[in-house]
Protein backbone atom coordinates (compact mmCIF):
# COMPACT_ATOMS: atom_id res chain seq x y z
CA UNK A 1 0.00 0.00 0.00
CA UNK A 2 1.57 3.30 -1.01
CA UNK A 3 1.86 5.75 1.84
CA UNK A 4 -0.42 8.65 1.03
CA UNK A 5 0.66 12.19 1.44
CA UNK A 6 -1.31 13.25 4.48
CA UNK A 7 -2.24 16.88 4.91
CA UNK A 8 -1.06 17.06 8.50
CA UNK A 9 -1.49 20.73 9.09
CA UNK A 10 -5.26 20.89 9.31
CA UNK A 11 -6.42 19.82 12.80
CA UNK A 12 -5.40 22.88 14.78
CA UNK A 13 -6.74 25.30 12.20
CA UNK A 14 -10.29 24.01 12.39
CA UNK A 15 -13.00 26.38 13.43
CA UNK A 16 -14.71 25.13 16.61
CA UNK A 17 -17.93 24.24 14.84
CA UNK A 18 -16.16 22.30 12.11
CA UNK A 19 -14.12 20.63 14.73
CA UNK A 20 -17.18 19.47 16.60
CA UNK A 21 -18.70 18.19 13.39
CA UNK A 22 -15.51 16.34 12.58
CA UNK A 23 -15.34 14.81 16.00
CA UNK A 24 -18.96 13.76 15.83
CA UNK A 25 -18.12 12.06 12.57
CA UNK A 26 -15.17 10.34 14.09
CA UNK A 27 -16.98 9.20 17.20
CA UNK A 28 -19.54 7.75 14.86
CA UNK A 29 -17.01 5.83 12.81
CA UNK A 30 -18.51 2.50 13.83
CA UNK A 31 -21.80 3.63 12.44
CA UNK A 32 -20.48 3.79 8.91
CA UNK A 33 -20.99 1.01 6.51
CA UNK A 34 -17.63 1.31 4.87
CA UNK A 35 -15.74 4.13 3.12
CA UNK A 36 -18.34 4.60 0.40
CA UNK A 37 -20.95 5.23 3.04
CA UNK A 38 -18.67 7.75 4.71
CA UNK A 39 -18.01 9.49 1.40
CA UNK A 40 -21.73 9.69 0.84
CA UNK A 41 -22.18 11.30 4.24
CA UNK A 42 -19.34 13.73 3.58
CA UNK A 43 -20.79 14.62 0.20
CA UNK A 44 -23.94 15.88 1.90
CA UNK A 45 -21.97 18.86 3.15
CA UNK A 46 -21.56 20.06 -0.43
CA UNK A 47 -25.32 20.48 -0.68
CA UNK A 48 -25.35 19.87 -4.40
CA UNK A 49 -26.76 17.26 -6.71
CA UNK A 50 -24.55 14.19 -6.49
CA UNK A 51 -24.02 14.45 -10.24
CA UNK A 52 -22.38 17.82 -9.83
CA UNK A 53 -20.39 16.99 -6.80
CA UNK A 54 -16.78 18.06 -6.60
CA UNK A 55 -14.88 14.86 -6.25
CA UNK A 56 -11.72 16.83 -5.57
CA UNK A 57 -13.33 18.57 -2.66
CA UNK A 58 -14.75 15.26 -1.44
CA UNK A 59 -11.34 13.63 -1.63
CA UNK A 60 -9.91 16.42 0.47
CA UNK A 61 -12.66 16.08 3.05
CA UNK A 62 -12.11 12.38 3.29
CA UNK A 63 -8.35 12.68 3.62
CA UNK A 64 -8.82 15.29 6.28
CA UNK A 65 -11.14 12.97 8.15
CA UNK A 66 -8.65 10.15 8.00
CA UNK A 67 -5.89 12.42 9.21
CA UNK A 68 -8.01 13.51 12.16
CA UNK A 69 -8.94 9.99 12.99
CA UNK A 70 -5.28 9.06 13.01
CA UNK A 71 -4.41 12.09 15.12
CA UNK A 72 -7.02 10.89 17.62
CA UNK A 73 -5.55 7.40 17.36
CA UNK A 74 -8.76 5.86 16.18
CA UNK A 75 -8.27 2.47 14.67
CA UNK A 76 -9.57 2.48 11.15
CA UNK A 77 -10.40 -0.59 9.17
CA UNK A 78 -8.09 -1.31 6.27
CA UNK A 79 -10.63 -0.47 3.59
CA UNK A 80 -10.86 3.11 4.88
CA UNK A 81 -7.11 3.44 4.41
CA UNK A 82 -7.24 1.85 0.98
CA UNK A 83 -9.86 4.38 -0.02
CA UNK A 84 -7.72 7.16 1.41
CA UNK A 85 -4.75 6.03 -0.65
CA UNK A 86 -6.84 5.84 -3.75
CA UNK A 87 -8.37 9.27 -3.17
CA UNK A 88 -4.93 10.79 -2.56
CA UNK A 89 -3.87 9.35 -5.89
CA UNK A 90 -7.01 10.61 -7.58
CA UNK A 91 -6.52 14.03 -6.06
CA UNK A 92 -3.00 14.33 -7.43
CA UNK A 93 -4.18 13.15 -10.82
CA UNK A 94 -6.98 15.71 -10.83
CA UNK A 95 -4.63 18.52 -9.88
CA UNK A 96 -1.85 17.72 -12.31
CA UNK A 97 -2.18 18.01 -16.06
CA UNK A 98 -2.26 14.59 -17.70
CA UNK A 99 1.08 13.34 -18.83
CA UNK A 100 1.26 13.05 -22.60
CA UNK A 101 1.12 9.47 -23.84
CA UNK A 102 -0.29 8.21 -20.57
CA UNK A 103 -2.74 5.38 -21.04
CA UNK A 104 -5.37 4.09 -18.73
CA UNK A 105 -8.47 5.90 -17.57
CA UNK A 106 -8.35 9.63 -17.14
CA UNK A 107 -8.69 11.19 -13.72
CA UNK A 108 -12.01 12.63 -14.85
CA UNK A 109 -13.30 9.15 -15.68
CA UNK A 110 -12.28 7.87 -12.29
CA UNK A 111 -13.90 10.83 -10.57
CA UNK A 112 -17.06 10.37 -12.61
CA UNK A 113 -17.20 6.75 -11.62
CA UNK A 114 -16.88 7.61 -7.96
CA UNK A 115 -19.70 10.11 -8.36
CA UNK A 116 -21.75 7.40 -10.07
CA UNK A 117 -21.09 4.98 -7.23
CA UNK A 118 -22.18 7.54 -4.68
CA UNK A 119 -25.28 8.41 -6.62
CA UNK A 120 -26.13 4.75 -7.05
CA UNK A 121 -25.67 4.01 -3.37
CA UNK A 122 -27.73 7.01 -2.47
CA UNK A 123 -30.45 5.94 -4.89
CA UNK A 124 -30.46 2.42 -3.43
CA UNK A 125 -30.88 3.90 0.04
CA UNK A 126 -33.79 5.97 -1.12
CA UNK A 127 -35.62 3.08 -2.73
CA UNK A 128 -34.82 0.84 0.23
CA UNK A 129 -36.56 3.39 2.42
CA UNK A 130 -39.49 3.59 0.02
CA UNK A 131 -39.70 -0.17 -0.05
CA UNK A 132 -39.76 -0.44 3.72
CA UNK A 133 -42.30 2.35 3.82
CA UNK A 134 -44.74 0.33 1.75
CA UNK A 135 -47.70 -1.39 3.26
CA UNK A 136 -46.48 -4.71 4.47
CA UNK A 137 -48.12 -8.04 4.89
CA UNK A 138 -48.82 -8.74 8.52
CA UNK A 139 -48.47 -5.08 9.43
CA UNK A 140 -50.74 -3.14 7.15
CA UNK A 141 -52.61 -5.77 5.26
CA UNK A 142 -53.38 -9.29 6.28
CA UNK A 143 -53.85 -12.74 4.91
CA UNK A 144 -56.73 -15.01 5.73
CA UNK A 145 -56.81 -15.72 9.44
CA UNK A 146 -58.40 -19.13 9.23
CA UNK A 147 -56.92 -20.74 6.20
CA UNK A 148 -58.56 -24.01 5.52
CA UNK A 149 -55.98 -26.52 4.77
CA UNK A 150 -56.73 -28.39 1.69
CA UNK A 151 -57.25 -31.86 2.96
CA UNK A 152 -55.19 -33.95 0.72
CA UNK A 153 -57.06 -37.12 0.29
CA UNK A 154 -54.78 -39.56 -1.33
CA UNK A 155 -56.76 -42.26 -2.88
CA UNK A 156 -54.19 -44.88 -3.31
CA UNK A 157 -55.77 -47.83 -4.89
CA UNK A 158 -53.58 -50.82 -4.77
CA UNK A 159 -54.10 -52.83 -7.80
CA UNK A 160 -53.61 -56.44 -7.10
CA UNK A 161 -55.33 -58.91 -9.28
CA UNK A 162 -56.16 -62.49 -8.60
CA UNK A 163 -53.35 -63.36 -10.93
CA UNK A 164 -50.89 -61.35 -8.83
CA UNK A 165 -52.16 -63.10 -5.76
CA UNK A 166 -51.80 -66.55 -7.23
CA UNK A 167 -48.41 -65.84 -8.68
CA UNK A 168 -47.28 -64.69 -5.28
CA UNK A 169 -48.58 -67.83 -3.68
CA UNK A 170 -47.05 -69.99 -6.33
CA UNK A 171 -43.78 -68.20 -5.79
CA UNK A 172 -43.83 -68.99 -2.09
CA UNK A 173 -44.78 -72.60 -2.58
CA UNK A 174 -42.08 -73.23 -5.11
CA UNK A 175 -39.43 -71.20 -3.39
CA UNK A 176 -37.55 -74.26 -2.17
CA UNK A 177 -36.83 -75.18 -5.76
CA UNK A 178 -35.46 -71.79 -6.45
CA UNK A 179 -33.15 -71.54 -3.50
CA UNK A 180 -29.76 -70.13 -4.27
CA UNK A 181 -27.34 -72.69 -5.63
CA UNK A 182 -25.25 -74.45 -3.05
CA UNK A 183 -22.91 -77.34 -3.58
CA UNK A 184 -25.09 -80.38 -3.44
CA UNK A 185 -23.63 -82.51 -0.69
CA UNK A 186 -25.46 -85.61 -1.84
CA UNK A 187 -22.96 -86.18 -4.60
CA UNK A 188 -19.83 -85.17 -2.77
CA UNK A 189 -17.58 -87.70 -1.05
CA UNK A 190 -15.31 -85.82 1.31
CA UNK A 191 -11.69 -86.65 2.00
CA UNK A 192 -12.47 -87.13 5.67
CA UNK A 193 -15.03 -89.77 4.75
CA UNK A 194 -12.56 -91.48 2.44
CA UNK A 195 -9.83 -91.41 5.06
CA UNK A 196 -12.12 -92.98 7.62
CA UNK A 197 -13.12 -95.63 5.17
CA UNK A 198 -9.59 -96.41 3.98
CA UNK A 199 -8.21 -96.72 7.49
CA UNK A 200 -10.72 -99.47 8.14
CA UNK A 201 -10.13 -101.22 4.85
CA UNK A 202 -6.35 -101.02 4.61
CA UNK A 203 -5.83 -103.79 7.13
CA UNK A 204 -7.13 -106.27 4.60
CA UNK A 205 -4.85 -105.15 1.82
CA UNK A 206 -1.50 -106.91 2.15
CA UNK A 207 -1.12 -107.18 -1.64
CA UNK A 208 -1.03 -104.48 -4.34
CA UNK A 209 -4.56 -103.62 -5.27
CA UNK A 210 -6.20 -101.01 -7.51
CA UNK A 211 -7.43 -97.87 -5.73
CA UNK A 212 -10.72 -97.97 -7.62
CA UNK A 213 -11.64 -101.24 -6.01
CA UNK A 214 -11.86 -99.46 -2.69
CA UNK A 215 -14.65 -97.16 -3.83
CA UNK A 216 -18.05 -97.90 -2.33
CA UNK A 217 -20.39 -99.71 -4.66
CA UNK A 218 -23.03 -97.02 -4.81
CA UNK A 219 -20.43 -94.45 -5.78
CA UNK A 220 -19.24 -96.25 -8.87
CA UNK A 221 -22.11 -95.84 -11.31
CA UNK A 222 -23.16 -92.19 -11.38
CA UNK A 223 -20.28 -90.36 -13.07
CA UNK A 224 -20.48 -87.31 -10.82
CA UNK A 225 -20.41 -89.47 -7.70
CA UNK A 226 -17.59 -91.63 -9.05
CA UNK A 227 -15.41 -88.63 -9.78
CA UNK A 228 -15.96 -87.19 -6.32
CA UNK A 229 -15.29 -90.52 -4.58
CA UNK A 230 -12.16 -91.20 -6.63
CA UNK A 231 -10.71 -87.80 -5.85
CA UNK A 232 -11.50 -88.19 -2.16
CA UNK A 233 -9.95 -91.62 -1.92
CA UNK A 234 -6.86 -90.58 -3.83
CA UNK A 235 -6.32 -87.68 -1.48
CA UNK A 236 -6.91 -90.01 1.46
CA UNK A 237 -4.28 -92.54 0.42
CA UNK A 238 -1.76 -89.77 -0.26
CA UNK A 239 -2.31 -88.69 3.28
CA UNK A 240 -1.83 -92.25 4.50
CA UNK A 241 1.36 -92.66 2.43
CA UNK A 242 2.73 -89.50 4.01
CA UNK A 243 2.01 -91.01 7.42
CA UNK A 244 3.87 -94.16 6.34
CA UNK A 245 0.85 -96.38 6.46
CA UNK A 246 0.69 -97.39 2.78
CA UNK A 247 2.90 -97.77 -0.29
CA UNK A 248 1.69 -96.37 -3.57
CA UNK A 249 2.73 -97.09 -7.13
CA UNK A 250 1.71 -96.04 -10.60
CA UNK A 251 3.19 -97.83 -13.58
CA UNK A 252 2.82 -95.01 -16.11
CA UNK A 253 1.14 -91.60 -16.39
CA UNK A 254 -2.66 -91.85 -16.09
CA UNK A 255 -2.24 -95.51 -15.27
CA UNK A 256 -3.99 -97.27 -12.44
CA UNK A 257 -2.86 -96.46 -8.92
CA UNK A 258 -2.08 -99.42 -6.73
CA UNK A 259 -1.60 -99.52 -3.03
CA UNK A 260 -0.79 -101.93 -0.30
CA UNK A 261 -0.40 -101.83 3.42
CA UNK A 262 3.08 -100.97 4.57
CA UNK A 263 4.68 -103.60 6.74
CA UNK A 264 4.75 -102.57 10.30
CA UNK A 265 8.33 -102.88 11.31
Amino acid sequence: MPEPDWPTDTPERLAPLDRMAAEALIVDVDGFEGPLDMLLTLSRTQKVDLRRISVLQLAEQYLKFIAEAQALRIELAADYLVMAAWLAYLKSRLLLPPEPGEDGPSAEDLAAHLAFQLERLSAMRDVAARLMGRDQLGRDFFPRGIPEDVTRKRNVSYSATLLDLMRAYARIRTRDDFRPFVMDRNNVFTMEQALDRMRKLIGFSGEWSDLTTFLPDDWQVHPQRRRSATAAHFAAVLEMAKAGQVDLRQADPFGAIHLRKKDAR
Binding site: F142, P143, R144, G145, I146, E148, V150, T151, R152, K153, R154, N155, V156, S157, Y158, S159, A160, T161, L162, L163, D164, L165, M166, R167, A168, Y169, A170, R171, I172, R173, T174, R175, D177, F178, R179, F181, D184, N187, Q224
Partner: protein, 215 residues
Protein backbone atom coordinates in the same frame (compact mmCIF):
# COMPACT_ATOMS: atom_id res chain seq x y z
CA UNK B 1 -57.88 -1.42 33.88
CA UNK B 2 -60.75 0.17 32.03
CA UNK B 3 -60.69 3.54 30.47
CA UNK B 4 -63.71 5.62 31.19
CA UNK B 5 -64.93 7.99 28.58
CA UNK B 6 -67.18 10.84 29.04
CA UNK B 7 -70.43 9.81 27.35
CA UNK B 8 -70.71 13.23 25.83
CA UNK B 9 -67.21 13.02 24.44
CA UNK B 10 -68.09 9.85 22.58
CA UNK B 11 -70.65 11.53 20.46
CA UNK B 12 -68.08 14.07 19.40
CA UNK B 13 -66.55 11.47 17.16
CA UNK B 14 -68.92 10.67 14.46
CA UNK B 15 -69.17 7.00 13.60
CA UNK B 16 -67.93 6.09 10.11
CA UNK B 17 -70.62 5.59 7.47
CA UNK B 18 -72.21 2.14 7.33
CA UNK B 19 -70.37 1.20 4.15
CA UNK B 20 -67.08 1.82 5.95
CA UNK B 21 -68.22 -0.15 8.96
CA UNK B 22 -69.10 -3.04 6.72
CA UNK B 23 -65.62 -2.95 5.21
CA UNK B 24 -64.11 -3.01 8.65
CA UNK B 25 -66.21 -5.95 9.71
CA UNK B 26 -65.27 -7.75 6.53
CA UNK B 27 -61.55 -7.17 7.07
CA UNK B 28 -61.68 -8.21 10.71
CA UNK B 29 -63.63 -11.36 9.89
CA UNK B 30 -61.25 -12.23 7.11
CA UNK B 31 -58.05 -11.78 9.08
CA UNK B 32 -59.16 -13.16 12.41
CA UNK B 33 -58.01 -16.61 13.35
CA UNK B 34 -61.12 -17.24 15.44
CA UNK B 35 -64.77 -16.37 15.14
CA UNK B 36 -65.33 -12.80 16.32
CA UNK B 37 -67.91 -11.82 18.92
CA UNK B 38 -69.98 -8.67 18.78
CA UNK B 39 -68.11 -7.19 21.72
CA UNK B 40 -64.79 -7.81 19.98
CA UNK B 41 -66.03 -5.97 16.92
CA UNK B 42 -67.16 -3.11 19.12
CA UNK B 43 -63.80 -3.02 20.88
CA UNK B 44 -61.80 -3.02 17.65
CA UNK B 45 -63.91 -0.66 15.58
CA UNK B 46 -64.03 3.11 16.05
CA UNK B 47 -66.41 4.59 18.56
CA UNK B 48 -70.05 4.70 17.67
CA UNK B 49 -69.95 1.83 15.23
CA UNK B 50 -72.81 -0.60 15.20
CA UNK B 51 -71.31 -3.93 14.17
CA UNK B 52 -74.64 -5.75 14.56
CA UNK B 53 -76.11 -3.75 11.72
CA UNK B 54 -73.02 -4.09 9.57
CA UNK B 55 -72.99 -7.83 10.11
CA UNK B 56 -76.54 -8.09 8.81
CA UNK B 57 -75.76 -6.26 5.59
CA UNK B 58 -72.48 -8.12 5.16
CA UNK B 59 -74.22 -11.42 5.70
CA UNK B 60 -76.66 -10.54 2.99
CA UNK B 61 -73.83 -9.54 0.70
CA UNK B 62 -72.21 -12.93 1.04
CA UNK B 63 -75.41 -14.84 0.47
CA UNK B 64 -75.00 -17.25 -2.40
CA UNK B 65 -71.30 -16.48 -2.66
CA UNK B 66 -68.36 -18.87 -2.38
CA UNK B 67 -68.04 -18.05 1.29
CA UNK B 68 -70.80 -17.21 3.73
CA UNK B 69 -70.98 -15.25 6.90
CA UNK B 70 -72.08 -17.68 9.58
CA UNK B 71 -72.83 -17.38 13.24
CA UNK B 72 -70.82 -19.74 15.41
CA UNK B 73 -72.23 -19.74 18.92
CA UNK B 74 -72.34 -16.03 19.69
CA UNK B 75 -69.52 -15.18 17.32
CA UNK B 76 -69.23 -14.65 13.59
CA UNK B 77 -66.99 -16.14 10.94
CA UNK B 78 -66.64 -16.46 7.20
CA UNK B 79 -66.87 -20.04 6.04
CA UNK B 80 -66.72 -21.82 2.73
CA UNK B 81 -70.17 -22.39 1.28
CA UNK B 82 -71.23 -25.90 2.17
CA UNK B 83 -71.74 -26.96 -1.43
CA UNK B 84 -68.15 -26.05 -2.30
CA UNK B 85 -66.55 -28.16 0.39
CA UNK B 86 -65.37 -30.55 -2.25
CA UNK B 87 -62.95 -27.93 -3.53
CA UNK B 88 -61.11 -28.10 -0.24
CA UNK B 89 -60.24 -31.68 -0.79
CA UNK B 90 -57.44 -32.35 -3.07
CA UNK B 91 -58.14 -35.83 -4.14
CA UNK B 92 -55.41 -37.59 -5.87
CA UNK B 93 -55.81 -40.98 -7.35
CA UNK B 94 -52.78 -43.09 -7.30
CA UNK B 95 -52.52 -46.56 -8.53
CA UNK B 96 -49.81 -48.45 -6.93
CA UNK B 97 -48.70 -51.94 -7.14
CA UNK B 98 -48.81 -53.80 -3.89
CA UNK B 99 -45.38 -54.63 -2.62
CA UNK B 100 -44.16 -58.14 -3.00
CA UNK B 101 -44.17 -58.65 0.75
CA UNK B 102 -47.76 -57.46 0.96
CA UNK B 103 -49.08 -59.58 -1.86
CA UNK B 104 -47.31 -62.66 -0.54
CA UNK B 105 -48.65 -62.09 2.94
CA UNK B 106 -52.10 -61.56 1.52
CA UNK B 107 -51.84 -64.76 -0.48
CA UNK B 108 -50.80 -66.74 2.57
CA UNK B 109 -53.67 -65.36 4.60
CA UNK B 110 -56.07 -66.16 1.81
CA UNK B 111 -54.83 -69.72 1.35
CA UNK B 112 -54.14 -70.59 4.96
CA UNK B 113 -56.69 -68.64 6.93
CA UNK B 114 -57.03 -68.42 9.83
CA UNK B 115 -53.29 -68.00 10.09
CA UNK B 116 -51.03 -66.51 12.74
CA UNK B 117 -48.22 -64.14 12.09
CA UNK B 118 -45.73 -66.81 13.06
CA UNK B 119 -47.21 -69.16 10.52
CA UNK B 120 -47.03 -66.53 7.83
CA UNK B 121 -43.39 -66.02 8.64
CA UNK B 122 -42.74 -69.73 8.52
CA UNK B 123 -44.29 -70.02 5.10
CA UNK B 124 -42.64 -66.91 3.69
CA UNK B 125 -39.36 -67.72 5.35
CA UNK B 126 -38.90 -64.06 6.37
CA UNK B 127 -40.28 -61.83 9.05
CA UNK B 128 -43.51 -60.00 8.30
CA UNK B 129 -43.21 -56.30 8.96
CA UNK B 130 -45.86 -54.50 10.94
CA UNK B 131 -46.31 -52.09 8.03
CA UNK B 132 -47.26 -54.88 5.68
CA UNK B 133 -49.98 -56.18 7.94
CA UNK B 134 -51.18 -52.66 8.69
CA UNK B 135 -51.39 -51.88 5.01
CA UNK B 136 -53.46 -54.95 4.28
CA UNK B 137 -55.71 -54.16 7.23
CA UNK B 138 -56.08 -50.59 6.04
CA UNK B 139 -57.01 -51.81 2.61
CA UNK B 140 -59.62 -53.86 4.41
CA UNK B 141 -58.39 -57.00 2.76
CA UNK B 142 -57.45 -58.84 5.93
CA UNK B 143 -58.76 -58.62 9.46
CA UNK B 144 -58.21 -60.29 12.79
CA UNK B 145 -59.79 -63.68 13.13
CA UNK B 146 -60.24 -65.66 16.33
CA UNK B 147 -57.38 -66.20 18.66
CA UNK B 148 -55.72 -69.54 18.27
CA UNK B 149 -56.31 -71.83 21.29
CA UNK B 150 -52.60 -72.53 21.61
CA UNK B 151 -50.11 -71.23 24.17
CA UNK B 152 -49.82 -67.48 23.89
CA UNK B 153 -53.25 -67.40 22.24
CA UNK B 154 -51.93 -65.71 19.11
CA UNK B 155 -54.28 -63.70 16.96
CA UNK B 156 -55.06 -65.04 13.55
CA UNK B 157 -55.69 -63.26 10.29
CA UNK B 158 -58.44 -63.96 7.82
CA UNK B 159 -59.44 -62.28 4.59
CA UNK B 160 -62.42 -59.95 4.54
CA UNK B 161 -65.55 -59.89 2.44
CA UNK B 162 -64.07 -56.82 0.84
CA UNK B 163 -61.13 -58.92 -0.24
CA UNK B 164 -63.43 -61.49 -1.83
CA UNK B 165 -65.31 -58.68 -3.49
CA UNK B 166 -62.16 -57.11 -4.86
CA UNK B 167 -60.84 -60.32 -6.27
CA UNK B 168 -64.19 -61.44 -7.57
CA UNK B 169 -64.44 -64.48 -5.36
CA UNK B 170 -67.53 -65.81 -3.72
CA UNK B 171 -65.59 -67.43 -0.91
CA UNK B 172 -61.99 -68.10 -0.05
CA UNK B 173 -62.60 -71.67 -1.12
CA UNK B 174 -62.90 -70.44 -4.68
CA UNK B 175 -59.24 -69.60 -4.70
CA UNK B 176 -57.49 -71.78 -7.21
CA UNK B 177 -55.67 -74.65 -5.54
CA UNK B 178 -52.08 -75.62 -5.96
CA UNK B 179 -53.12 -78.11 -8.57
CA UNK B 180 -54.77 -75.38 -10.59
CA UNK B 181 -51.75 -73.20 -10.19
CA UNK B 182 -49.57 -75.94 -11.50
CA UNK B 183 -51.92 -76.59 -14.34
CA UNK B 184 -51.81 -72.91 -15.17
CA UNK B 185 -48.07 -73.04 -15.41
CA UNK B 186 -47.69 -70.87 -12.34
CA UNK B 187 -45.94 -73.59 -10.48
CA UNK B 188 -43.39 -74.70 -12.98
CA UNK B 189 -40.61 -76.33 -11.06
CA UNK B 190 -37.54 -75.12 -12.68
CA UNK B 191 -34.81 -77.52 -11.62
CA UNK B 192 -31.70 -76.33 -9.91
CA UNK B 193 -28.74 -77.16 -12.12
CA UNK B 194 -27.12 -80.39 -11.07
CA UNK B 195 -30.05 -81.75 -9.16
CA UNK B 196 -31.36 -85.12 -10.09
CA UNK B 197 -34.83 -85.22 -11.48
CA UNK B 198 -37.19 -87.95 -10.66
CA UNK B 199 -38.99 -89.58 -13.55
CA UNK B 200 -42.34 -88.15 -12.49
CA UNK B 201 -41.20 -84.55 -12.55
CA UNK B 202 -41.56 -84.12 -16.27
CA UNK B 203 -45.28 -84.48 -16.19
CA UNK B 204 -45.85 -80.77 -15.70
CA UNK B 205 -48.02 -79.89 -18.66
CA UNK B 206 -47.33 -76.67 -20.45
CA UNK B 207 -50.76 -75.13 -19.95
CA UNK B 208 -50.54 -71.37 -20.23
CA UNK B 209 -52.16 -69.12 -17.64
CA UNK B 210 -54.34 -67.77 -20.35
CA UNK B 211 -56.43 -70.84 -20.30
CA UNK B 212 -57.34 -70.45 -16.68
CA UNK B 213 -57.74 -66.73 -16.61
CA UNK B 214 -59.57 -66.17 -19.83
CA UNK B 215 -62.96 -64.59 -19.37
Amino acid sequence: MTETFDPIEKTLFEAPPMGEQERMIEAILFASADPVTLSEFTARMPHGCDPAEGLITLRRRYEGRGVNLVKVGDAYALRTAADLGHLMHKETFEHRKLSRAAIETLAIVAYHQPVTRTEIEEIRGVAVSRGTVDQLMELDWIRFGRRRMTPGRPVTFVVTDHFLDHFGLESARDLPGLKDLRAAGLLDNRPVPGTLRGPNEDEDPATGQSELFED
